[in-house]
């Protein structure tokens, strides 16, 4: 009986593969955004602190992304404006210390992938689609670990998340650009 079970395991085991799991590299992962300011110019900003994980199985064409962004890490290059963005007028970082994105579906394609997931910001969860281009994986030249990186873009309306202050003077459309690097576990 034990020999039969061993034989079955030997045959079946190679057929089962688990997706590769990665941990987000916070030093090289930055969610960036742009927004129109009073119709005069485009304001650029980024969130400086992220964490999370992702999985990827190119053979099966599956994957997942789970990212947590520290709301208070917002940086637009001007301290007083950053204080305003952290205030209840906009992101209310004290009440909502985290912005999260959790994927529900990842579809690989020729260019990269399409990631559909739930973005939760200021207590509101909405489905958002991110377009991923050029997924690059390889061995890190210094630490010799397996690393994957990609760029993702998307668009949201801040009013959908209850961030309505100063509309329409400050734009409603937020263009997202997220650079991600993740290290294989």
């Amino acid at each position: 009986m034990q020999r039969v079970l061993f034989l079955i395991g030997t045959l079946v085991l190679p057929l089962t593969t688990w997706a590769d799991a990665y941990s987000i590299d916070p030093a090289h992962t930055y969610p960036n955004f742009t927004i129109n300011h009073l119709g005069f110019s485009t304001l650029h900003g980024r969130f400086g602190k992220t964490s999370g994980s992702l999985t990827m199985d190119r053979a099966k064409g599956t994957g997942s992304v789970d990212i947590v962004i520290e709301t208070a890490s917002i940086n637009t290059g001007f301290a007083k404006r950053d204080d305003h963005l952290r205030s209840p007028d906009f992101f209310n970082a004290a009440e909502f210390p985290e912005i999260t994105f959790k994927s529900s579906k990842v579809t690989f394609n020729d260019k990269g992938a399409t990631v559909v997931g739930d973005l939760t910001m200021k207590g509101v969860t909405k489905s958002v689609t991110l377009d991923v281009d050029s997924i690059n994986c390889g061995v890190h030249p210094f630490n010799k670990k397996q690393v994957c990186g990609f760029n993702a873009t998307g668009h949201i309306k801040r009013s959908d998340f209850g961030i309505k202050y100063a509309l329409p003077a400050v734009g409603d459309d937020l263009n997202l650009s997220i650079e991600v690097e993740a290290v294989k576990n």
Binding site: D83, R86, S87, N92, A94, V124
Partner: protein, 302 residues
């Protein structure tokens, strides 16, 4: 038109002033509640113009708005149900209501604190809101329904009491609004300025009724109106110390505004002058509050 509706000064000053003034003139016949209703309506129009009227999800800002629009009615209901209790302790009732409301508003941050930090932060918001509510409501002279019969406070004339009430609210509202803006929340500032504008309209209407119709009874802000001002001002100040950059020490000075106004220095006979002097007197502790906030949060920049 869209540009006008989106202008911060229109949202926070012109619109609430006009709405409150028009309603005060028309609701006068309803007796007890006209002042409170008019003031709440002025605040409501600013809420509608700035954030909209949605209450989902129930963020801390929406909790403040919900309490500001609902608690004055609750106090009125309690007053109708048990007149003896609320006649005795209107200030205490307001203080308790506001302390609980402040804890509820600050709860998302409080729930993440531990030990002494939790008690200190909870005490900071609850005590400030309670002092604001208790101090403003005690300016009724100890009666929930000021137009009722019963023992009246004979030590102050109607005009003197009116000047204290109006001066305290105007100084506290303008001070809270300015401090909130310096502390990086323009929205909180607009809501506080809306209370100032609505109160100004209410005072203007009351003074006009007093002078045109010689109705001295209108020269007294009713408890519902005082509570309609106390709730948003107490909660906005408390919340700004948690969610914006208003330093806790500034709350100490802001809380003195409705207390300092009791100093019997105002003796002018003209009610307009008396109100102006009372407002200036109540503004004295507001100045260090603004200076402390400026030091902590830095200069305002747009």
């Amino acid at each position: 038109m869209q540009a006008l509706l989106a202008h911060p000064a229109f949202q926070a000053a012109v619109a609430p002033f006009l709405v409150t003034l028009v309603l005060a003139l028309f609701l006068r016949r309803w007796g007890l509640v006209w002042q409170g209703l008019a003031l709440i309506a002025g605040l409501l129009v600013t809420v509608w113009l700035t954030t909209g009227l949605s209450l989902q999800p129930l963020t801390s800002t929406r909790k403040i708005i919900l309490c500001s629009l609902g608690l004055p009615f609750l106090a009125l209901l309690v007053g109708f149900l048990n007149r003896r209790a609320t006649q005795i302790l209107p200030g205490l009732l307001a203080a308790l209501l506001l302390a609980v409301a402040a804890i509820w508003v600050a709860w998302p941050v409080l729930s993440r604190q531990h030990g002494w930090a939790l008690w200190a932060m909870a005490g900071q918001v609850a005590v400030y809101a309670a002092v604001v509510g208790g101090a403003l409501l005690s300016l009724t002279g100890g009666r929930m329904f000021a137009n009722e019969g019963g023992r009246s406070d004979a030590s102050l004339t109607a005009g003197a009491r009116f000047a204290q009430q109006g001066g305290a609210i105007l100084a506290l509202a303008i001070g809270t609004g300015a401090a909130a803006i310096i502390g990086a929340s323009a929205l909180y500032g607009q809501l506080a300025f809306a209370v100032a504008a609505s109160t100004g309209a209410l005072l203007l209407a009351a003074l006009l009724f007093w002078q045109w119709k010689s109705e001295e009874s209108v020269a007294n802000l009713q408890p519902m109106a005082l509570l309609a001002a106390a709730v948003p001002l107490g909660l906005l100040g408390a919340a700004a110390s948690i969610y914006a950059k208003l330093p806790a020490i500034a709350l100490l000075f802001l809380a003195c505004a409705p207390l300092v106004v009791r100093i019997p220095l105002v003796s002018a006979a003209n009610p307009w002058l008396r109100l102006t002097l009372a407002t200036l007197l109540a503004s004295v502790p507001v100045v260090p509050a603004l200076w402390l906030t400026w030091q902590a949060a830095g200069p305002v920049s747009f």
